[in-house]
């Protein structure tokens, strides 16, 4: 067998366009990295699960907060002011005042509850009907139920409350907003806590993936040395590890998403029953498309970041001996 100048063998390394080379390399390396993961299904599954649970935790708490917000969101607009007028204000004046307040931009509606109507209501609701009949005259003032328009902020609501309170006809403005404000403050804290927790868990994911990649690099040290010996660049030997990080991120993020959605699916039954008991209209908000993409995107980013940092650090050290 003579060495012939066979055209196939002699042809110089053909230079396709740089981009198509790049694309071809990445396509085959990504498939190769996935194949490598699938050859160690148990170990890969463990890591994917760790990433999934780590990401699912903040995502799930976030969904709970979002649901709490959407429920309490209804309360914001339902913050009616009860404006009790002075006892000596006649109905006609009360009606005029109601018209005046109704014209304000920050007010959605004003209902007048006359003293008579209030007493009738009270009789019916309290069960003290006969006792109340003993009263010579109606002790109740006329009242206005002021509903602020939805665009109000906390500050403008306070201002509105003050201005109505300062009217000469007003005896007392009653707004039971404090507990709502507290609830919102708690949600704010929880939201911040989630952000901090998510950042810490993100670091944990980077460490987990980085460590896994580091072990992978150590296991393949000889292969890396040989590959470098026959002319592979750092970029070439790094590539499979970047793709490994990518796949960990993608699979972990997707699994996290499935975990959260499944958890919400499990909660849907009990929540519907609770809503039924309160005759309320509570429904569970699930993760939207953009949130889902954010979770997967974050996972992929963390995977790539971890593998990049790890591979860049170790690849330079491994040189043929």
């Amino acid at each position: 067998m003579a060495v012939t100048r066979n055209s196939d063998a002699v042809a110089p390394v053909r230079s396709s366009s740089a981009f198509s080379i790049w694309l071809t390399r990445h396509a085959s390396t990504s498939v190769g990295a996935l194949g490598r993961l699938s050859r160690q299904p148990f170990a890969s599954l463990m890591i994917v699960l760790v990433i999934a649970v780590t990401l699912a935790l903040p995502a799930a708490i976030n969904v709970v907060v979002k649901n709490a917000q959407s429920i309490s969101g209804g309360w914001d607009n339902a913050l009616d002011f009860s404006v009790y007028l002075k006892l000596d204000i006649p109905v006609s004046e009360a009606e005029g005042l109601a018209r005046l307040i109704r014209q304000r931009a920050d007010v959605a509606s004003v209902d007048l509850v006359t003293a008579d109507a209030a007493l009738a209501d009270f009789k019916l609701a309290s069960g003290f009907g006969e006792a109340l009949d003993q009263l010579g005259e109606n002790p109740l003032p006329h009242a206005l139920i002021v509903r602020p328009s939805p665009g109000n902020t906390g500050a403008s609501l306070t201002l509105l409350q003050e201005e109505i309170g300062n009217l000469p006809e007003t005896d007392l403005v009653q707004v039971d907003t404090e507990w709502v404000q507290r609830f919102h403050a708690i949600l704010d804290i929880v939201r911040k806590a989630i952000a901090i927790g998510a950042a810490l868990l993100g670091i944990a994911i980077v460490v987990i993936i980085g460590n896994t990649i580091r072990l992978d690099i150590e296991n393949r040290r000889e292969e890396i040395e040989v590959t470098k010996l026959i002319g592979a660049s750092n970029a070439f030997v790094r590539r499979p590890f970047l793709w490994t990080g990518f796949w960990y991120g993608l699979l972990g993020g997707t699994s996290a998403l499935l975990l959260v959605q499944y958890g919400l699916y499990l909660l849907r039954g009990p929540v519907t029953r609770l809503a039924g008991l309160y005759q309320g209209n509570i429904s569970v908000t699930t993760l939207g498309a953009s949130e889902s993409l954010t979770i997967i995107g974050a996972a992929v980013f963390l995977g790539l970041f971890a593998s990049w940092v790890t591979a860049a650090r170790h690849m330079r050290r491994i040189e043929p001996r």
């Binding site: 067998m1 060495v3 066979n6 071809t24 040989v226 590959t227 010996l229 026959i230 750092n234």
Partner: protein, 223 residues
Amino acid sequence: MIQLDNVTKRFPGGQEALSGLSLSVDKGEMVFVTGHSGAGKSTLLRLIALIERPSSGQVIVDKQNTQRVKRRKIPAYRRQIGMVFQDHKLLYDRPVFDNVALPLFIAGVSHRDAGRRVRAALDQVSLLHKEKQSPQTLSAGEQQRVGIARAIVTRPKVLIADEPTGNLDPDLSLEVMRIFRRFNEVGVTLLIASHDISLIDRLGCRRIALDEGRLQQEADPWQ
């Protein structure tokens, strides 16, 4: 093609593997480097492959002064040289085909284009029928031939080999050397480190004898 000018390689401990060595290998030559272990054969090849750099002196390969090859450019430099190792340095987690195709993949050749060239290379070492096997299932001689196919698949102008027959019996050694000879006949420059004097003599190639890092000019004990 390969030229060393007054090359010294001193290791951190202070001992010199090469001391003021000058030699040259012409284009199309097939030259053997001989000497006892520790004579500096491997160091010489490692300098050419830029695994090490000389402490002083110049190594020029195919008109390139290796001194001027920057660290980042070393991979591209190595891709121009075929390398064969005593321990084959094959990757045992993938079949013969992928081992031979590796330099092509590194160079960015697509899998489809690589196929024909890998088969041409395997054909030259008579291993065409084993491309799907794992290197582990092959004999030592066959593994070495896979290593050679990998070294020549990119058609390098220069091929260096460090004790390529070190682990082989005489018949297999001769077969390997014949393969090298055939490459030489089509113009490849070869520099082969070996201590198998009788084999080298049968091939009738030029010999560079090293002794303690220097050229051993006279009183060659083997001749």
